[in-house]
């Protein structure tokens, strides 16, 4: 386990429109995301308060929050919400997709977090090449 203070991460919020929604604000245990009133305000992230816990990722109904992480072992992961079946498991090789669904090579699922509190939104950590990690927004659904 890498100590928290050594982690290098970045929360990416892609919420560009003023829609009435604020679960990300409620979900953050450190008050790092603020929306306030009116509820149509865009979320503002205070990265100095962010611990990188990622609780905002499954909370966002728009699936618009991601976490980019450069780990100490030199590997890069992208954390993203996943609501497809079949569920993905540790070690699965996945096709990485950008915002337009264009394939950006393959990655490996290195962590799956899906406790009951996430209400069936799994948060995947996918190891990928550092050159593409920043632009990965999804992994391709596997058709049975």
């Amino acid at each position: 386990m890498v100590p928290r203070e050594k982690r290098k991460f970045e929360i990416i919020i892609e919420c560009p429109e003023e829609i009435p929604c604020n679960p990300c604000e409620e979900a953050c245990p450190r008050g790092a995301i603020s929306i306030g009133s009116p509820i149509t305000n865009l979320p503002v992230l205070d990265s100095t308060k962010c611990s990188g816990c990622g609780l905002c990722i499954p909370a966002c109904p728009g699936q618009a929050i991601f976490i980019l992480e450069e780990r100490q072992d030199g590997e890069t992961t992208i954390g993203l919400p996943y609501e497809m079946l079949p569920a993905l498991e540790l070690g699965n090789q996945v096709t990485l997709l950008d915002r337009g669904g264009v394939a950006m090579g393959t990655g490996e699922v290195v962590k799956v977090v899906s406790p009951p509190a996430y209400s069936r939104t799994a948060v995947l950590q996918v190891r990928c090449s550092p050159t593409v990690a920043r632009d990965v927004r999804a992994v391709k659904k596997v058709f049975r």
């Binding site: 892609e14 919420c15 560009p16 429109e17 003023e18 829609i19 009435p20 929604c21 604020n22 679960p23 409620e26 979900a27 009133s37 009116p38 509820i39 149509t40 909370a59 109904p61 728009g62 699936q63 618009a64 609501e83 497809m84 079946l85 997709l97 950008d98 915002r99 337009g100 669904g101 264009v102 209400s119 939104t121 927004r137 999804a138 391709k140 659904k141 058709f143 049975r144």
Partner: protein, 361 residues
């Protein structure tokens, strides 16, 4: 004949919220719904909802339906499911029909709240009656309620939130979504919903619509056509796509037949989905015994429907003299403030203005 103090037609988010609010005032409430399960459109919404905690944000629609219904049941609300409210016989009597048992009956109520929702708009093109052409909402009912996938290669017509959400849910259900086509040059719904389907490789084609559907037993191919800036077809732009399912999501219209039948005054509002009954600040129509709430009072969101249900309930309780005016006014103010917040931002503006216009009628 069934007698009740208050009858609510429609057990969706508006009707259920109104029922809960009235039952809290210890009033006798009967909910009437034509479906097997209460919840209205919530029962097929498997996605997490937007909004705030008060509007069950972050909770999936189906779970919101369960929560609201449990609350209503715990408060003693009576429910008639599989029951169609088909008409009025005077200002206090609703004709009901239970198609499964061929039972006919009358519900007598002192006050009536219509929370009948909306219906999907059709799109007329040659081949629109072929099996495989359906409302996006109908497709959603099949995959999420009945767990039947009606096709494998889907084209969605219309990029409003319904079209975008259904496209994503079709992917979740295992279908291949070929594209979403949109007559306008921009996405109709929320960008976050559009982003979810785009990143799964579903393209959104703008200024494009369906010209016809072709096939023998059902849809086999469709012809798409490009539209110019005046939404007129561009000659020579037609192209054929192999598909078996066309999901039409081109808006909703208030399901207001009962309000027409009751002689309510109506007003045409484009931003509200068409003809809507005129109502006051308590959601009371121009008919003495009838209140409205939710999409029947102008097509919006589940969150606004819940608030309007509460508002109508307050109006009914006040009219029956079971709630003090001061308390009713305070609560009305709270609900009005939340509604105003929900209607802010670029997506709420037209609806807010339309609602204000309606309120001045």
């Amino acid at each position: 004949m069934i007698r009740t103090k208050i009858a609510i037609v429609g057990a969706g988010p508006a009707g259920l919220s109104a029922a809960v609010e009235l039952a809290r005032e210890k009033l006798d409430v009967l909910l009437i719904d034509e479906q097997e399960k209460p919840g209205g459109q919530l029962v097929k919404q498997i996605h997490k909802f937007f909004g705030s905690q008060q509007h069950y944000a972050g909770i999936r629609g189906i779970e919101i339906a369960d929560q609201l219904f449990s609350e209503a049941k715990a408060l003693g609300v009576k429910v008639l499911t599989n029951t169609v409210a088909y008409g009025f016989f005077g200002s206090h009597s609703i004709g009901i029909h239970q198609p499964h048992t061929y039972e006919l009956g009358i519900v007598e109520a002192e006050r009536i709240i219509l929370a009948t929702g909306a219906s999907e708009n059709p799109l007329w093109f040659p081949g629109w009656t072929l099996p495989g052409v359906m409302g996006a909402g109908a497709f959603q009912t099949m995959i999420n309620v009945h767990r039947v996938l009606p096709g494998k290669r889907i084209v969605v017509v219309g990029s409003g939130n319904v079209g975008l959400i259904v496209a994503f849910q079709a992917l979740q259900a295992g279908a291949d979504v070929l594209m979403i086509c949109e007559a306008l040059p921009r996405v109709g719904g929320y960008e976050v919903h559009a982003a979810k389907v785009r990143r799964q490789g579903v393209p959104i084609f703008f200024q494009t619509t369906i010209e016809r559907a072709l096939g023998q037993e059902g849809v086999e191919r469709i012809v798409l056509i490009r539209l110019d800036e005046h939404e007129k077809p561009i000659p020579g732009s037609a192209r054929e796509i192999k598909t078996d399912t066309v999901c039409v999501s081109v808006g909703l219209s208030p399901l207001a037949e009962l309000a027409w039948m009751a002689g309510c005054q109506f007003c045409y509002m484009d931003a509200m989905g068409g003809w809507v009954p005129v109502y006051d600040a308590w959601m009371k129509t121009t008919a003495e015994t009838i209140w409205v709430a939710g999409d029947v009072a102008g097509v919006e969101e589940a969150s606004t429907a819940m608030e309007e249900g509460r508002l109508a309930a307050l109006g009914v309780a006040l009219s029956l003299g079971v709630i003090r005016e001061k308390r009713a006014l305070d609560r009305q103010q709270e609900v009005a403030e939340r509604l105003a917040e929900l209607r802010m931002g670029p997506f709420g503006e037209a609806r807010r203005m339309a609602k204000e216009h309606l309120g001045r009628q």
